[in-house]
């Protein structure tokens, strides 16, 4: 690829909003001044997992001076039905999960709202509940499809015959727990009505989507809902669609006639905004004696809520990772009295690749073959299930180059061989993959009277670097320096953008931005504006065969006395198309890897089956990696050119870091200790008894 130094794309440009973020002037959803009439809302949540709400009463003496309204099913305005039943707040007396919003207190002060919500008398007819995912659940079924529109099951060849006739087989079950996104900024909305128009300062990943969903609920066309989302304190999928907080705040603002601010407390994020489903995955692999897979069989069991069928695509990545003549994949779902799962960083790929990539490690051990060599021997020439050629695939190069950079060559394949003091030391590898997607978006480019340019699109920057990257893309497409381009995002009234999700933001928005800027540059010189809608081009595109790949390498040390695991080194090598901004891309890769470390070692939402609640619902007990957990961690990438994906040649970088990195750590734990942890996270109590 030819790059010249005067091109902005590919340069490590600092984040454009960086100074605002380090000086505290970047505003998030709950931080906009909206006048002295502002009221505060606090949500009262169900304390049972299943039942019927029969009454909400307020002690008239509680915060009498400050409470403005108490909303619940008995008095709330009727709403129109949205696609997501979680948005039908206070529309039914049915309680479908513990933590469901049952009432909302609106008060003049935050303190009054919170106390009054805690003292509401909520009457509930409780019913027995069922919250436990298990492989023998009688209500398990095969969903018609898994997210977003993949077949639940695929099969080709004769898997059972291959298992009968192959010399080496493994049959293992891996479990991943429920996980919670936990962005640092809890979901929040400040809502106000301007006549019949609704203004929402809302923390989300998709302003036009929030405008449409909330508009549907309140019978408003999307253009009557103005969603402002200048800065977002992380989302990781949990802010990808409108959440109940947006509807609750809007409802409260309508009823009280005041602006209303609802910032969910951290604890509410564990039930009201989504989670990653727990999974129980059985993987069977069969191989010939030369290490070629003869069969792959991967099935996931997972849950959804009573309200909504959310079917995570857990084993979809298995359909394109390795060649094998006989293959079967499937998903089984059970609807439980639980909150609805939603997207969490690399939904499907992250838990699915834990099972597949650990199983590959187990197979390599059974075959007495190096785990990298096993993967190389099963590299497919085309996408195995669709037969579509890959637009680009440099998985083997990632494994080989990563092995060089990490220092894999002299590895003793036997476990439990290296001991330094109290520490057992080992290394592990695992593959990474993430689909390369683009979604229709529209952008507008304007030539300003000053000679500068303004480029607008209703995208959001959750910390991905989108604002900066789109500015780079626009500058190159316009053929002007960065300083002449101002990109406007974070507002639903701007040209329609797709969601900041699926690692597709830069591809989707960059495509539209490129189109608009090129149209302005090459169009009628008397016109100072051009708009470009990528819908047609995106829809014409072949969807199969487009993926980013990578390889993760981990070195761990395990304390022989306590079972504590430390990740001494974590290394990722990626082939993710053209890297638009090395500075922000590296941060995305590292951030994904660190969340992967959390998935391997720390993160677990612990269910109390008797209460139907995740008991560790805060940041003291739901452990995420902290400063002290990080030692050496690095991400590198190959130069990969792919002209078939989008005008920039870029693949998404936001999610691939969490795919496979947990498996690399688990495989390294086995290599260090001989202990194979198949039930995440790899807490010390699961390791210590076997040391």
């Amino acid at each position: 690829m030819t790059t010249t130094t005067d091109r902005a794309v590919g340069q490590p440009i600092e984040r454009l909003e960086g100074q605002d973020k380090v000086r505290g002037t970047a505003r998030y959803a709950a931080e906009y001044p909206v006048g002295d009439e502002l009221a505060y809302a606090w949500v009262a949540q169900s304390t049972v997992a299943r039942g019927t709400l029969t009454g909400v009463t307020v002690d008239p003496l509680v915060e009498a001076d400050d409470v403005i309204a108490v909303l619940w099913h008995g008095n709330a305005p009727r709403l129109s039905e949205a696609d997501d039943p979680e948005l039908a707040v206070f529309q039914s007396d049915e309680i479908r999960y513990r933590g469901q919003a049952l009432a909302l207190v609106v008060a003049r002060t935050l303190e009054a709202a919170r106390r009054a919500a805690g003292l509401l008398v909520v009457e509930i007819d409780e019913e027995p509940h069922d919250c436990v995912l298990r492989t023998d659940h009688p209500d398990l079924y095969t969903p018609d499809k898994v997210n977003p529109a993949f077949p639940s099951e695929t099969a080709s060849g004769d898997v059972d015959a291959a298992f009968e006739s192959s010399p080496t087989t493994i049959d293992v079950t891996y479990r991943t727990p429920a996980l919670h996104n936990n962005p640092m900024e809890p979901h929040a909305t400040t809502a106000l009505w301007d006549g019949d128009d609704l203004v929402l300062y809302d923390s989300n990943q998709h302003p036009p989507g929030i405008a449409a969903a909330v508009g549907t609920v309140f019978d408003l066309p999307p253009e009557r809902v103005h969603v402002i989302t200048e800065h977002v304190g992380g989302g990781f999928g949990s802010k990808g669609s409108a959440r109940p907080n947006a509807v609750l705040a809007a409802m409260a603002a309508r009823v009280t006639g005041r602006p209303v601010r609802l910032a969910l407390p951290r604890q509410a994020l564990f039930s009201m905004v989504g989670h990653r489903t727990p999974t129980i995955q059985r993987v069977r692999l069969a191989a010939s004696s030369d290490g070629r897979l003869t069969a792959i069989d991967h099935e996931a069991v997972e849950h959804s809520s009573r309200l909504f069928e959310f079917a995570e695509q857990t084993v979809v990545a298995t359909r394109h990772m390795y060649a094998a003549p006989n293959r079967r994949t499937g998903h089984r779902l059970v609807r439980l009295d639980m909150p609805t799962p939603r997207w969490m960083r690399a939904p499907g790929e992250a838990p699915g690749m834990v099972a597949l990539e650990c199983a590959m490690d187990e197979l390599a051990v059974a075959l007495r073959l190096d785990p990298i060599e096993l993967r190389v021997r099963n590299e497919p020439s085309v996408e195995p299930e669709s037969g579509v050629p890959f637009s680009s695939r440099h998985y083997v190069e990632c494994l080989r180059r990563g092995a060089e950079r990490f220092g894999w060559a002299d590895r003793d394949p036997r476990p439990r061989q290296r001991r330094e003091g109290d520490w057992w030391i080992g290394t592990g590898v695992a593959g990474a993959t993430y689909p390369t997607m683009a979604q229709p978006s529209t952008a507008r480019a304007r030539r300003l009277s000053s000679g500068d340019y303004e480029v607008s699109i209703a995208a959001t920057d959750l910390g991905t670097g989108a604002r900066t990257i789109l500015t780079q893309i626009a500058a190159d497409a316009l053929g002007v320096p960065l300083s002449q381009v101002r990109v406007r995002i974070g507002d639903s009234t701007l040209p329609k953008a797709s969601v900041a999700g699926g690692s597709s933001g830069s591809a989707s928005w960059g495509w539209a931005v490129t189109g608009a800027c090129q149209a302005l540059r090459s169009g009628d010189p008397s016109s100072d504006e051009a708009v470009f809608d990528s819908t047609e081009l995106v829809q014409q595109q072949e969807k199969d065969g487009k993926h980013a790949f990578g390889a993760h390498f981990a070195e761990v040390r395990v304390d022989a006395v306590t079972g504590e695991v430390r990740v001494s080194r974590l290394f990722g090598m990626y082939a993710a198309g053209r890297i638009l901004n090395p500075r922000t891309a590296r941060s995305q890769f590292l951030g994904g890897m660190i969340m992967g470390m959390g998935m391997a070692l720390h993160e677990e939402s612990v269910l109390d089956p008797a209460m139907g609640v995740w008991v560790n619902h805060d940041l003291a007990e739901y452990h995420i990696p902290s400063h002290a957990d990080i030692e050496s961690i690095e991400a590198e990438w190959l130069d990969e050119q792919d002209d078939q994906i989008n005008p920039m040649g870029s693949k998404g970088v936001g999610e691939i870091g969490i795919v496979g990195s947990p498996a690399a750590i688990l495989n390294a734990i086995w290599h260090a200790t001989g202990v194979r942890v198949r039930d995440l996270p790899a807490r010390l109590d699961k390791i210590l008894p076997h040391l």
Partner: protein, 154 residues
């Protein structure tokens, strides 16, 4: 009650239940200090109270009559520019707390306060240990360490 925030005196009439964090955010319009958990678990609300780093969500404002508070809006320290250069943040929501915490931490080091690590020099391990009260879900930790190290003049 009276509170000095970033060098400016404020006379406030507060509900006694109001935390220092909510006082800053909801009463003084200083929204740079963030509310991540409201339970002292994440560090996003870290400010300097009479020069020491504290979780402002765990402190009732009324208990700090006459105290001097420095928030991110009042911080002017080399670590801020270093965070930008090293990409020591992504979403930015933990960032004000990380920066206030780093400023307070470097002062603690200068005073010779010990940590669980016990290194005599301000090693990366020391920085990580001393900064571990500030969570970052984006995982910008590896970039914050060189930012803080360089701001400390190492």
């Amino acid at each position: 009650m009276d509170l000095v925030v970033n060098g400016v005196e404020h006379s406030l009439d507060l509900d006694p239940r109001t935390t220092l964090l909510d006082t800053l955010r909801e009463h003084l319009g200083l929204t740079g200090s963030k509310k991540g958990c409201d339970h002292g678990q994440c560090g996003a609300c870290t400010v300097l109270l009479d020069g020491r780093r504290v979780n402002s969500c765990l402190i009732l404002a009324i208990s700090q009559q006459g105290a001097s508070v420095t928030t991110i809006e009042g911080v002017d320290h080399p670590v801020q520019q270093k965070f930008v250069e090293h990409d020591g943040f992504q979403c930015g929501y933990c960032t004000p707390g990380q920066i206030c915490s780093a400023v307070g931490m470097l002062d603690e080091v200068a005073k010779g306060w010990p940590s669980a690590i016990g290194d005599e020099e301000l090693t990366d391990a020391e920085i990580r240990e001393r900064m571990s009260g500030n969570l970052c879900r984006c995982g910008a930790y590896p970039n914050m360490i060189p930012a803080i190290r360089e701001a400390a003049g190492r």
